[in-house]
């Protein structure tokens, strides 16, 4: 993809993303109802509309890392490795958003910033696994060896995603019980779902934009290395 096509593609992701997010946040803050048990701390409950979609996007990004890592191991095409590193970085950014918004929501509701329950701890571990993945890449100068080892970590690291998802189903946690597929007593008011869905779509497009830009960076870096090699020859 040349530069102008790439810019158009980024614009095609960025503009709808911002428009959808503006509409979705307007709806979530002013139209969607408040969760009944949190009426006393009304504004803070609205953190839900960024916390849950950010968690979904980080899971989705780590799934892309998993698929791209498998793709690299099977085909040994370097483009898969670029997709994997781009998705890992974006996943870490969204996982950071989850770890920032969670404690800010917890403090006024639970009275504490953090507790070592299964959901919170496994999420922190997930974050650290992919920070480790990115650090590993920094310490291996040789491209093929780096891509190979990173693919293995990218595949093994994904094991933690279903554990995070299942944590509040398998163990008693301070974190609220699941709102998706959590049994008969779970679920959300449909009007709240529209807010979550809108923010999710907007953030997913924004994540796509970030991944695209990160991928472009990786392809430019590869071109630079090739040119440096031909300059030396």
């Amino acid at each position: 993809m040349n530069n102008s096509a790439s810019d158009r593609f980024s614009l095609a992701l960025g503009v709808p993303s911002l428009l959808i997010l503006i509409g979705a946040f307007y709806y979530s803050f002013l139209v969607a109802p408040i969760e009944s048990s949190m009426a006393m701390v009304e504004p803070v409950q609205r953190i839900f509309y960024i916390h849950l979609p950010s968690a979904f996007i980080s899971f989705l990004s780590f799934f892309v890392v998993f698929i791209a890592s498998l793709g690299y191991l099977i085909t040994r095409r370097v483009a898969w490795d670029w997709v994997a590193v781009s998705a890992a970085e974006v996943g870490v950014v969204f996982c950071s958003a989850v770890l920032i918004t969670g404690p800010l929501w917890a403090k006024p509701v639970w009275g504490i910033w953090w507790t070592w329950d299964a959901r919170l701890t496994t999420t922190l571990i997930l974050f650290l696994i992919y920070v480790g993945y990115l650090m590993l890449r920094l310490y291996i100068p040789e491209a093929q060896r780096r891509a190979l080892l990173a693919s293995v970590v990218g595949i093994l690291g994904f094991v933690d995603v279903p554990i995070v998802y299942m944590a509040n189903r398998l163990w008693r946690t301070q974190h609220p019980q699941p709102v998706i597929a959590g049994g008969e007593e779970s679920g959300l008011d449909p009007r709240m779902w529209w807010g979550v869905l809108g923010v999710f779509v907007g953030l997913a497009l924004f994540a796509g934009l970030l991944m695209r830009q990160r991928y472009r960076l990786e392809s430019m870096r590869s071109e630079l290395i090739e040119l440096e090699r031909s300059a030396r020859d």
Partner: protein, 50 residues
């Protein structure tokens, strides 16, 4: 002030700061790389001409 308004404000501000900060960081890294690429291409063109 309603309970939790401060936390609500911090949560949304920090997330947007994080997302746009990362986007800005990507843009700056791309700019630096494209300058390096341009300089290297110029050097190679001059070398080929000599």
């Amino acid at each position: 002030m309603p309970i939790g308004l401060k936390h609500f404000f911090y949560a949304y501000s920090l997330v947007w700061f994080l997302l746009f900060g990362y986007l800005l960081n990507l843009g700056l890294r791309q700019k630096r790389l494209s300058e390096e690429l341009r300089a290297l291409r110029d050097r190679l063109t001059r070398k080929a001409a000599d």
